[in-house]
């Protein structure tokens, strides 16, 4: 092939500039400006106003004035500590359950499904695109006290078992801790499965073969090769499940009872019904800080495992 001589002059619309090359400087900033401005004004600034709101006193009718009332945080924690703890507990349980349920499915899809892979992927993604409120309402039907699922659970003694471990308070399934955690697990399962699937699909099956060739039993092969190599997916999946689950109140409202109230439910009620803005803002801020702290600790812990 003849060598090409007519190289076009380096123009500066950005799109053609590979990362290695430095082009004129204003282009990336021009591309970033509208999007980042939007995020700044409608995400960062609200965090500031949220914090500020929590330190104000007054009422919705008379208006609020900033008084720096830090005591509101003590009040918030004192009154709603159980709900806060419960939210973390439920979200953590749902995350662990979603991992236990999602891993086999993601593993199967990525490594064993063959030509069924795409069909399974569609079936995992499609429900995610349908109204999750309607699907959560469907759980009311499924777990209803007079439905076949509950009577089956009664007949095999599952309801007694759940009651014994305190996940339900009577011989029904609905309106219980059990139903809330099931609902949370169900709702965020696709967020767990998709990152897991993505990292398992990248896994070279020959590495697993190599482990077998090097005297690792299937269980050891999983422990020493498959699992560590899927960790990026595990970390992403657990974060994507835990964070929304911790703030969720739809499952606890639709599937729970007064003993399963989560912190999101309290924030919602304080803001929109009780209209106690400072308290609601303080709770909201506490939830944010708590989750950020947990996420950072988790990522740091996972990071020490040296993710690939």
């Amino acid at each position: 092939m003849a060598s090409v001589t007519g190289t076009a002059p380096a123009l500066s619309t950005g799109a053609s500039a590979p990362p290695e090359r430095r082009r004129s400087n204003w282009v990336p900033y021009a591309l970033l400006l509208p999007g980042l401005l939007w995020l700044f004004v409608f995400f960062v600034v609200p965090m500031i106003t949220l914090f500020s709101q929590s330190l104000q006193e007054g009422s919705i009718d008379e208006g609020y004035t900033f008084t720096g009332n830090v005591g509101i945080y003590a009040e918030a924690l004192q009154s709603y500590f159980p709900q806060l703890l419960r939210s973390i507990g439920y979200a953590a349980s749902a995350t662990v359950l979603a991992l236990l349920l999602g891993y086999p499915l993601a593993y199967f899809m990525a490594l064993k499904a063959g030509r069924w892979k795409n069909v399974l992927l569609v079936l995992v993604i499609a429900p995610f695109f349908t109204s999750f409120l309607i699907r959560t309402l469907a759980w009311q039907t499924i777990l209803s006290d007079v439905g076949p699922v509950t009577s089956f659970a009664r007949s095999i003694g599952l309801t007694n078992l759940l009651q014994a471990v305190g996940l339900t308070s009577n011989d029904n399934l609905m309106a219980s801790k059990f139903a809330v955690i099931c609902g949370l697990t169900y709702n965020f399962l696709p967020f767990m499965i998709l990152p897991l699937y993505a990292s398992l699909e990248r896994l070279d099956p020959r590495l697993v073969e190599a482990a077998g060739d090097l005297y690792a039993s299937p269980a050891q092969g999983f422990r020493f090769v498959t699992w560590p190599l899927s960790l990026p997916g595990v970390v992403a999946g657990t974060l994507l499940t835990f964070i929304p689950a911790a703030g969720d109140f739809i499952n606890s409202k639709l599937l729970g009872n007064t003993q399963t109230v989560m912190i999101g439910q309290v924030i919602d009620a304080q803001f929109l019904r009780v209209l106690n803005y400072p308290l609601a803002a303080a709770l909201s801020f506490v939830l944010l800080v708590l989750i950020l702290a947990l996420v950072m600790a988790y990522v740091r812990k996972a990071g020490t495992e040296e993710l690939v």
Binding site: R206, A211, G212, D213, L214, Y215, A216, S217
Partner: protein
């Protein structure tokens, strides 16, 4: 390095069929302990499937695999004292090089895993990279780590699946010598799968040429090259000129037989002529042919149609009167070179020809290399 008393690797009627086709026809093969054995063939010939069955990564459809007297056919990969150097190396990306090498030893609970792994890295001259991750190494180094990771377990049989395929030519030559050195040092049976005939001939004591799921011919490299028994082997292992000919005479007192090809009488050694066939392909290796009459009693006239100079030698294409071109390779020994269009005579000795049954495809094995 201690010699192990494991015994020969034997395949008895080993076969593998997938839904639609048979990848490996029933195969019997004995690979003697401590030998360097090569399975050579084009892609899709069944060599890798055979290797994977020996490794335990593929279940045979029938037959047995034995090491010494021990039948290992139904054992799992991780229960076999067999290790593989994978084509892609399959190094664990999340572990250091040293952890990779120690992996097999640790799985078997070897207390001395770390020291042995370090020794193995020394053997492949990579003692200093033990703490690095595989991605930080060059292709050639990764290849050697994969070798160390397998060898450190002292397997009864070491399987190598196209281990040099990803390396460039120069590095490949270097590693061929290196592999040969390591094999003689550790004395483990090596079974090497490759589609590169030169690589197989350089390294192996014995080569099995596979085609279409069967072993076409088994032997040491020189025998395979000098006396191929099929057109596939003749073409796949090096290059061959094949002339259609008919046996016309009986063996003479000098041990040669007269055959007739395109109205010319030619001689071929009795020893190179299979029994009971009259229609043959007469085969000659390009480097056995001479331009001029000095090469022997067999002579053909033709016109030079192409000359390519390769440094150590010159390769000619010589067009025969009936249209076919023969390839002639002349050592670059200082003699004058022929030019395109020149009329030349090709000659060769009777013992340099070989005869093959003409009832097969003359072009089998041509251009099947990847």
């Amino acid at each position: 390095m201690a010699e192990q008393l494991s015994g020969d690797l034997r395949l008895v009627g080993l076969t593998k069929s997938f839904e639609q086709f048979t990848a490996v026809q029933p195969t019997d093969l004995t690979i003697s302990q401590g030998s360097f054995f090569a399975l050579l063939g084009p892609s899709g010939c069944g060599k890798t499937t055979t290797l994977r069955m020996i490794a335990g990564l593929e279940d045979p459809s029938g037959g047995q695999i034995l090491i010494g007297d021990k039948d290992i056919t139904s054992t799992k990969a991780y229960q076999r004292n067999v290790n593989t150097v994978f084509q892609s190396y399959a190094l664990f990306p999340h572990m250091t090089v040293l952890d990779n090498v120690a992996f097999g030893l640790k799985r078997r609970g070897d207390k001395d895993a770390k020291r042995k792994a370090e020794e193995a890295l020394e053997l492949v001259q990579l003692a200093e990279v033990g703490r690095k991750k595989p991605v930080q190494l060059s292709g050639g180094m990764q290849q050697r780590v994969a070798l160390a990771r397998a060898i450190v377990n002292r397997p009864d049989v070491l399987l190598l699946d196209e281990p040099l395929g990803a390396l460039d030519l120069k590095l490949r030559r270097q590693m061929q010598i290196e592999l040969k050195r390591i094999q003689s040092e550790v004395g483990i049976t090596f079974v090497h799968v490759t589609h590169d005939q030169e690589e197989a001939m350089t390294m192996a004591d014995t080569i099995a040429v596979m085609n279409g799921g069967r072993i076409e011919q088994l032997g040491d490299p020189a025998t395979l090259y000098e006396s191929p028994r099929s057109t596939f082997v003749a073409n796949f292992l090096g290059q061959s000129n094949l002339l259609r000919a008919t046996v016309t005479g009986e063996p003479g007192s000098d041990g040669t037989v007269v055959v007739r090809s395109h109205d010319t009488d030619l001689e071929v050694s009795r020893a190179h002529l299979p029994d009971g066939i009259r229609e043959i392909f007469l085969g000659m290796r390009p480097e056995k042919l001479r331009l001029g009459t000095g090469g022997g009693p067999n002579q053909l006239k033709g016109t030079v149609s192409d000359v390519s100079f390769t440094g150590v030698a010159t390769q000619y294409l010589v067009r025969m009167p009936w249209g076919r071109e023969l390839t002639v390779v002349q050592q670059n020994d200082g003699s004058a070179r022929a030019v395109v269009g020149e009329n030349v005579t090709i000659s060769w000795a009777a013992e340099h020809g070989f005869a093959l049954d003409a009832h097969q495809d003359a072009d089998a094995g041509v251009d099947t290399e990847d």
